[in-house]
Amino acid sequence: MTKTVPAAADGVPAGAEALKTRIRELLGDTRVPETIRVVRDTSNFLNIEHGDVILLSGRHYLVRGNEREGRFGLDEEPKFWVKRAIDLASGDVKIIKLCFTENFTFSVGDMAFDFFRSPGKEARLLDRVRGHTGFMQGFSVRDTADNVVRIIEFIHGETLHQRVISLAENHERYYRESFPEIFRNFQGLVEAILFLHRAGEKHGDIRRDHVLIERETGLYRWIDFDFNFHSPSNPFGYDLFGLGNVLAFLAGGGDLLVNDLRRDRPELCESLVPGDLNIVFRNRVVNLRKAYPYLSEDLNNVLLRFSRAAEVYYERTDELLEDLSAVVL
């Protein structure tokens, strides 16, 4: 007589053997764990490992491993609270961000910012940006211990950092052939940030490796918006600063660093004045026309608003967007 195993809300039968059968269907024999542990309370995320199944709101997710920070192409420490998993009902890959909060002081140049990582903020933003092509997509649920867990659609593709580095071996060729399309997409990214700011929200951690370029669609999407900070005089200043840094990286085909110029183009390095440098990072050149005279003057003027020589700063994202839309490459 066959024992009937009750199905969970996702239609996947509960019970270790039934789960193994489903995993075998999706991944083949070799990927089936010997024992299946079903986790409902994700508080202790350090103990949730490859082969565990997380059950959230009646759906089963097979954990395949921890994600890594991967900042600017360098693999850093694994993020134990971020799991790559397979939705056992659909077979789709998901990123599952478990509940991890932290407060820390982050140095930007020689200044300090008080940041906090908030699962609740990212969950709220996932609702706000649902259907917006400029952001990663997903939703949040609560586990049995009331932790906020975000379930994110996996994006197949490379980061904006990787894309630019792979294209920019020769700057002039990159600038003339590849940059125009990248610049158009960057404008879309700025529009997406404006969408957040108009809703009173910040991204919080704008970096070029926090943009993924979706392989299938070519869409540029912001990821990882669980950081927040309190800056009531200028709530969006840090986001704008991040956009300026990304733009300088894109236009320069990489960061144009004083140390590199000292080695590779000493005569240019000698000609630099403090006003050519980033307002916060004194080793980064933002007056890119000094190095690349064919760069659009309009674009260079935008970059100079992020320089130490700037008299007027961008205070709102729509001001930046307006200037970008007037740039002729």
């Binding site: 200044m111 609740g120 009173g200 927040n228 309190h230 009531p232 005089s233 600063f241």
Partner: protein, 160 residues
């Protein structure tokens, strides 16, 4: 000083909105108003503090959020009381100095000051300006700069 195109009056008095926090530059601004206008008739002052409440994410619990707010409101009442005393001792009558704390979540301080200015119909906004570096101003913003750029129909006094 930025001069507006028209002056507004409040019951015959000229109404100054003095936006303050607990900084030394705010205290300077209050002393300036006291020295400049104390004892003269025809002026009233609202001492305004904007309590910029962080978004809910910063607090682990609602109790923590309530406690933060309670502490900061008490602190604001203390320094507003001190500033009020500076003005009344300089010759402003009690009924011509009002104090106000406005708590706002996620708002830009300068926007709330301007909104209050419009509601009160004040003819002058007064603020102190601290010694922020250019890059601090870039990243953290400057309330006084934003008020100078955005205020309409009034004068703005920035006290350094």
């Amino acid at each position: 000083m930025k001069t507006g195109s028209k002056e507004r009056r409040d019951g015959g008095d000229r109404h100054l909105l003095v936006a303050v926090d607990q900084s030394a530059s705010s205290e300077k601004a209050v002393f300036y108003v006291a020295d400049f206008l104390g004892g003269l008739s025809g002026f009233r002052v609202t001492l305004l503090h904007i309590l910029a409440v962080p978004q809910e994410d910063i607090f682990a619990t609602e109790a923590e959020s309530a406690s933060w707010r309670r502490e900061h409101e008490e602190e604001a009442r203390r320094f507003l009381g001190r500033y009020r005393l500076i003005l009344t001792e300089s010759g402003f009558s009690e009924e011509r100095v009002a104090t106000r704390v406005l708590a706002r979540e996620g708002a830009t301080v300068s926007d709330v000051i301007l909104e209050e200015h419009r509601k009160l119909g004040s003819c002058t906004i007064v603020l102190g300006r601290g010694g922020k570096s250019r890059k601090e101003e870039f990243l953290f913003g400057s309330v006084s700069n934003r008020i100078v750029h955005q205020a309409q129909g009034c004068s703005v006094w920035i006290i350094e």
